[in-house]
Symmetry: C2
């Protein structure tokens, strides 16, 4: 029984078939055709230039390098940004204020109906002393898409970029010191439904907030990342679902399988899809394989976006672009559906060269093993054991852009306060 | 491409195939085989008898009949119950305390990863003056199942039943007055991951809380409930997913299609599944049809539970049981997959007798229309226009049990404080 599209009947009308996409279209890309012109998309207005500043009176100490949590809680910087929204009045003035707890009524929408979405990106202290964000425009646009998908308000994506820069302008100098080049901080824009009304309905009050936190370096686990394919009775995302959106609903339900896999010594689940067993994501990261085709071509392969099963990762798309630009002569870059059986077969024929997971949290993490139905696929980890040659090349190029070794339009410099 | 089970390979081991169900088994039904005995399932200990009481110093006024919200917020009673949990120390002592806001860190798991689940049940002021809950044991058990599915802690389900009774014992006399027999209050047990740590992992801190709120009567909309079948590009739940669990992740993602349907004048979505278009749920309620089979039998039909797509509704199972016990001579009661095409065909042959949605919020609400791909199925609403004969019979029997007109083990009397 496939939850795929219901086939059209003779009397299908377009409006019936496009109920959801038309909802997204209505909300995000509603165009103004007056005067014969197609105007810019209309979003709820959010003016990031009007931000108000309330600085902390209790500045906290910056933790020692490598310390990311305190008493089991993530360490955040001194400030956060909050912006309230109501259906009646739209977005209020953004506030930069001391980091601290949120107050929510027990009936708040987010606590019952998962009306929530988020983004994750990092700020990097460059070797040239500058502080950079990596392609924040991509995160801001995806944040808008996720918000729309989960029935939260719209906003001009540029406003979120500006708020990210504003927070880092204030907290960057202290929390990501020039004395620690090559380090990063993790930024988490979040949008939640705060409307204190029970009942399954789109919330008419919401809160957008941005926090900046420490996070461990996770891209080089000893021995590489070990994956366990998803259990037979568990599907992460499905066609017609929301696997492509960064909404909370994609994460909580995946924890049970992930915990079981961890108890068995694996780092993440390799999520398969369909009776064919298509490879989709590794944990919450995109998944890549470098293999030789049967014809002997070297190929970098990853799952495609078109069926909306996987996240359109910023690291993923950056890797694909760099690989096409810089490895195009030697490596064929392919986005297509491919199955775990293809991976198993390539393995048995000695054609697997490398594999890695890619995302903001895990950056580019080499994969050393895939466990599938009592069989192991062991994947070469390169001469030094820290990843294959292409994996390390791509990782190095990205790192150079993030930390300013290479001047590149993807690195957006923060104008810091001091 | 079907997200159904990955077919077994020759080397399948049971432990691989049952990763998820084994996780649930491990967590809920872990048995102690020592001494050759199979012991009771082990849950995290939660002693509801040790509840501490802190009464409000600012009692609020009970709203006029029919008033359920104030300034757009749900009106709750004077008190709520909260119980904190940590992985390290388990459940703390339950507290009954004044209703009020919760304090959560911006990094709290529930706000990012939808680590949340809930229950919904009502307390009924009987015509005999007594206050009753309806089958609270069923809700408590389902709450445990949902919590386990979303990687939140376990608890003995009886403890939640006791907490529900404790809250109603205190707030029942004032908020569901003996002067208003035939009225109800809505109880919402909720469990959220409060762990203030970013990162996709099972939370190691959680909060269980129970609130009691007013809710409109929704079971008799003028002209009946009108349904719009789900859009072609949208699937609510899928085999291998979590449609059977009352987790937040089932609700937020459904809002977009629901809002579009409402904008077009329909009350809820009739969620179809698969290329076959199986009928599953009506909004967040179970869905029933009464029709004549081609052979002329009168049949009450609803979707089955076995593929775990739909919620195992307490109202649903009560209706099925009452129908089998009391209508068995005249109505065949069937739980099986059936398609929207079967409904359309029955309609064109004049075989549709009645239809209704059933759940705690909507109780038993007659369905008058299903709009599918530009075609309307109009459903008889009975002589008085308030529902078909079987719909009203079932609704009446349930109401009699809820409000004490019929003495029945499903009605659990609250021992009130005054």
């Amino acid at each position: 029984m496939a939850p795929s599209a219901i086939p059209s009947t003779a009397h299908d009308g377009e409006q019936d078939l496009d109920l959801t996409s038309s909802a997204i279209d209505h909300r995000i890309a509603e165009s103004n055709h007056s005067n014969g012109h197609v105007a810019e998309p209309k979003y709820d207005e959010l003016d990031a230039t009007k931000i108000s500043y309330t600085f902390t009176k209790e500045p906290r100490d910056v933790p020692a390098p490598g310390v990311t949590s305190l008493n089991g809680s993530t360490i955040c910087t001194d400030h956060m940004i909050t912006v309230k929204w109501t259906a009646k009045s739209g977005w209020e003035t953004p506030e930069l204020r001391p980091y601290g707890p949120l107050t929510l009524m027990p009936t708040a929408s987010v606590l019952h109906y998962a009306t929530e979405c988020f983004e994750g990106l990092k700020a990097y202290r460059g070797f040239d002393g500058k502080l950079r964000l990596f392609r924040p425009d991509c995160n801001a646009k995806r944040f808008l898409m996720s918000s729309t998908r989960i029935s939260l308000p719209t906003f001009p994506p540029e406003s979120v970029e500006k708020l990210l820069l504003a927070l880092m302008a204030v907290d960057g100098p202290k929390w990501l010191s020039r004395e620690r080049p090559g380090s990063f901080i993790y930024l988490r824009p979040t949008l939640i439904g705060t409307h204190a009304q029970l009942g399954v309905q789109a919330p008419s009050e919401a809160l957008l907030y941005i926090i900046a936190s420490y996070m461990p370096v996770m891209d080089s686990p000893a021995g590489g990342m070990k994956l366990h394919t998803s259990p037979n009775d568990m599907v992460r995302a499905w066609v017609g679902g929301f696997g492509y959106a960064k909404v909370g609903a994609n994460y909580g339900p995946s924890l049970l399988a992930t915990q079981e896999a961890r108890d068995r010594g694996y780092g993440q689940i390799l999520w398969l899809y369909g009776s064919e067993g298509f490879c989709t994501e590794a944990g919450a990261s995109n998944f890549f394989v470098v293999w030789k085709t049967k014809e002997g071509k070297t190929q970098l392969i990853t799952a495609p976006l078109d069926d909306r099963l996987i996240l359109d990762g910023v690291t993923r798309r950056s890797i694909l672009q760099l690989a096409r630009e810089r490895l195009g002569d030697e490596v064929e870059v392919v986005e297509r559906k491919y199955t775990i059986e293809e991976v198993m077969e390539a393995n048995s024929e000695g054609r697997i060269l490398e594999s890695f997971a890619a995302g903001t949290a895990f950056f580019v993490t080499p994969v050393s093993l895939i466990h599938h139905r009592e069989q192991d696929v062991e994947i070469p980890m390169g001469k030094a054991g820290d990843g294959g040659a292409y994996t390390l090349k791509l990782k190095g190029w990205l790192r150079d852009i993030m930390y300013g070794n290479e001047d590149h339009p993807w690195g957006v410099v923060v104008q810091e306060e001091q």
